[in-house]
Symmetry: C2
Subunit: 484 residues, 2 copies
């Protein structure tokens, strides 16, 4: 009960902040985002130590993630300071047109309203309080209410303090940002159901994400939910590539499976191999590397026990052979056949942690059929050299339909934060395959197109004024231009 | 049962067509869209007569709508022939970057897959078989299955024949287009639930739209639904404008309310007026015009009887006064007060037909409060002159939050088909306020972002090749350019 009152109060405050905050020029919001980055950096070792203590991540990883978090905030600051991201479109009037005059029409991307962001267990900084969704929503002009993750509450509170200090320092409206805590799903559900909330960002389990989707759809006014939920990130190893590079591929794959204790949404959890002369030594090299991987603490107890359960279920599957067990049964390598994979959709359930499943296919046709039966994924990767071209082309056709990012001769872990990245993909990888959670394109999840007809220059947003005071790129009468 | 078999067969065929159709160059799909327009025009008077007989629309309106339909098809042909609509983004690799190499990343808009389009009762051509959603989806690279509307089945069949003739003539894959008929909701529901369908376009009632939203959300793989459902298109008449132009405003509003027998989704159904010295003569002029409007046949029996019911309920509302009844109780003008409007949300229910409700407000504050209580709308319009500036600014803030298109000193009927139009708006005007159903921007409803990492030039789509063979506008390392 106390929790709902808090949620109600902050959501109302966010709704009051929205018209003021969204009306600020891009350069003012940019100044705010840069201040957030600066305040986070100014937390120094205190933040690093708290993240390490709460999430059991090593210092280098935490510092890297902090760098990415601040880099994202500054990337969005640059984007909105420049301003062309609003995709302004202008059609000038033709008052003399027959039979009907053409009105003056101007459209641009406009922010939706207050946004609820749920912290991710596995990225206590980069996908949490001041992470990607918060940065993109604040950049778009949406106030943000963050729901903390129980796994790293102190991290959340410390980061929120930095954001609120930046709000105060740069004079942003009260209610531009708030953090809500509270155990379990109560506060989260209250937030998603609150009438002032206009969109939701979430990174977590499929069960959690689909519950939020259902709540959002059942509201009197349904709202969009961007939930990143689960992905197996299938990897396809074609014969010529395996022949040429089996040792390097085994080493790279080992790193991708066990890096960060396998707790990345882009960890390759399915590896399809066409059986051939190089399968055995590749498999042996990978098994040896995975079997020799030291056990490390996982993010939290819940994740560790889920991993043990899922890993155990995979090991006991009648069509699955265990190829390697790391110390304390942590890292794991398993094997099944293409025909078993095609028959049993349970083999497509995510095992969140440092394990992967090799799927040995007897024929190219079986490999392609496996690809055709895959659910939606964040990524799909293929290693292909020279003579693999023909199989690659067939695979590309299948994989483009089900993934957000197709990787050639590489591994899916590592998500570059930039203009051209897509970190998203068809359901169940995400709730809404039209969107990305990483990179500048993610700003559009919090926007809708808004159009003005015959509005005098004085009432138009700067982005749509005829004089183009922001000097942004626009589509004017069908032509792209950065001039007035 | 027979119906579901048909739906299953055409949906499977569409899924088979998808990889072939979507892989065609834009100029080939453009040739197809232009052929569709040509085939529709070649149907000549036969089509016009069938539409007139089925939908009771006058010849001039039918010919106008045919012009718009063919114009839309050609607009999308131009868009995809030019090609920049895919929003290509390229980030070139930095293999030497420390601590991590930057990969080559390229992203573009890619089609979702087969799309289901539901014909609209009120636009037998422009929002039906070869209407806006069909044109934009085919342009994006999505096969289309159209569900006919029972009100104009022969129109649907004749138009479908034209589309299928264009499919054959231009060599499009079998399954690129199909029409399904059948009574009631059975075929429609089967279509929305079919696993091959990846998105839905719908124009119709709120009950119909929300039923489709629920079905789509309950699928094993949920899909987006773009339903345009209901809108009252509130119009605000400010004092100075009414003083200067009350006669012209009354005449224009009469035309907007009764044009097309009030069967446009953009008909102004709510007119807010600040009580003042000019209210009475404006009201009298409008009542006289509406009272003198001849009755005309509506689109179908169902729409006519719903209109009679809704109009009757409004007339009997205890806080509503009837100001004018046209012959046979068709066109109607009603009046209520701002305070009654604020209290009763039922006064926000759409009355689809030639009637409108005046809401007389006693104070500016009441007028602004009425605006703040409005549900999502396709459009909102304000007439404001000189001294009305201050009230207008306050209204603009409220109305931008709830509408897709804000109109100044004009009326909402008439939707220009162009780059800068938005025909959409927050729920319940549409199911998804992020989208438009009219204009070139509507192509994005059928797309998602797809990213390629380190893919060799030979495997990249032309839009993403380094050589830029299509000569399209792209974002390359953060810079907009149409060069290689």
């Amino acid at each position: 009960m106390g929790m709902s009152i808090t949620v109600d109060a902050v959501a109302r405050q966010a709704a009051l902040a929205f018209p003021k905050y969204s009306a600020l020029p891009g350069r003012e919001r940019a100044r705010f985002l840069r201040a957030v980055a600066g305040k986070i950096e100014a937390l120094g070792d205190e933040l690093v130590e708290i993240v390490m203590a709460e999430s059991h991540l090593p210092a280098a990883r935490v510092m890297g993630e902090r760098g990415r978090t601040c880099g994202q905030l500054r990337m969005f600051a640059d984007l909105i300071e420049e301003g062309s991201w609003v995709e302004a479109r202008i059609e000038t009037a033709l008052p003399e047109r027959k039979p009907l005059a053409k009105p003056d029409l101007r459209a641009m991307q406009a922010p939706l309203g207050p946004v609820a962001v749920f912290c991710a267990a596995n990225f206590p900084l980069a996908f949490s309080v001041a992470g990607g969704d918060t940065a993109s929503a604040l950049a778009a002009g949406c106030p943000v209410i963050v729901k903390a993750h129980s796994g790293h509450l102190k991290t959340a509170e410390l980061t929120a303090k930095a954001v609120l200090a930046a709000v105060a320092e740069t004079g942003m409206p009260e209610g531009t940002f708030a953090l809500v805590t509270g155990s379990g799903q109560e506060a989260g559900q209250a937030l998603v159901k609150h009438p002032s909330i206009t969109a939701v960002g979430f990174t977590g389990s499929r069960a959690g994400g689909t519950a939020l989707m259902a709540s959002a759809a059942a509201r009197p006014v349904p709202i969009p939910v961007y939930a990143e939920m689960s992905s197996l990130n299938p990897l396809f190893l074609l014969p010529q590539a395996l022949k040429n590079r089996w040792e390097a591929i085994a080493a790279g794959l080992h790193g991708a499976v066990t890096g960060g204790v396998g707790q990345f949404c882009t960890k390759p959890g399915l590896v399809f191999v066409l059986e051939g002369p190089d399968t055995d030594h590749f498999e042996a090299a990978l098994a040896s590397a995975i079997g020799g991987t030291s056990a490390c603490p996982m993010l939290n107890e819940n994740i560790a026990s889920n991993y043990a359960d899922r890993r155990g279920a995979l090991a006991e599957h009648p069509e699955v052979t265990t190829l390697a067990d790391g110390p304390e049964f942590q890292a794991g390598l398993f094997r099944t056949t293409g025909s078993a994979f095609i028959k049993d959709r349970h083999l497509q359930e995510e095992v969140f942690g440092p394990s992967t499943l090799l799927v040995l296919c007897e024929t190219e046709a079986e490999l392609i059929k496996c690809a055709g039966g895959l659910e939606g994924q964040l990524t799909a990767s293929v290693h292909a050299d020279g003579a693999d071209v023909e199989i690659f082309r067939a695979l590309q056709g299948q994989l483009e339909k089900i993934c957000g990012r197709l990787i050639f001769n590489g591994f899916s872990t590592g998500v570059e934060v930039c203009h051209a990245i897509v970190h998203g993909g068809p359901f169940p990888a995400t709730s809404d395959g039209r969107s990305t959670s990483v990179g500048t394109l993610s700003i559009h999840r919090w926007c809708r197109a808004l159009c003005f007809q015959n509005l005098p220059e004085e009432f138009l947003p700067d982005a749509l004024k005829s004089s183009n005071p922001l000097g942004i790129w626009r589509l004017v009468d069908g032509k792209r231009t950065a001039s007035a």
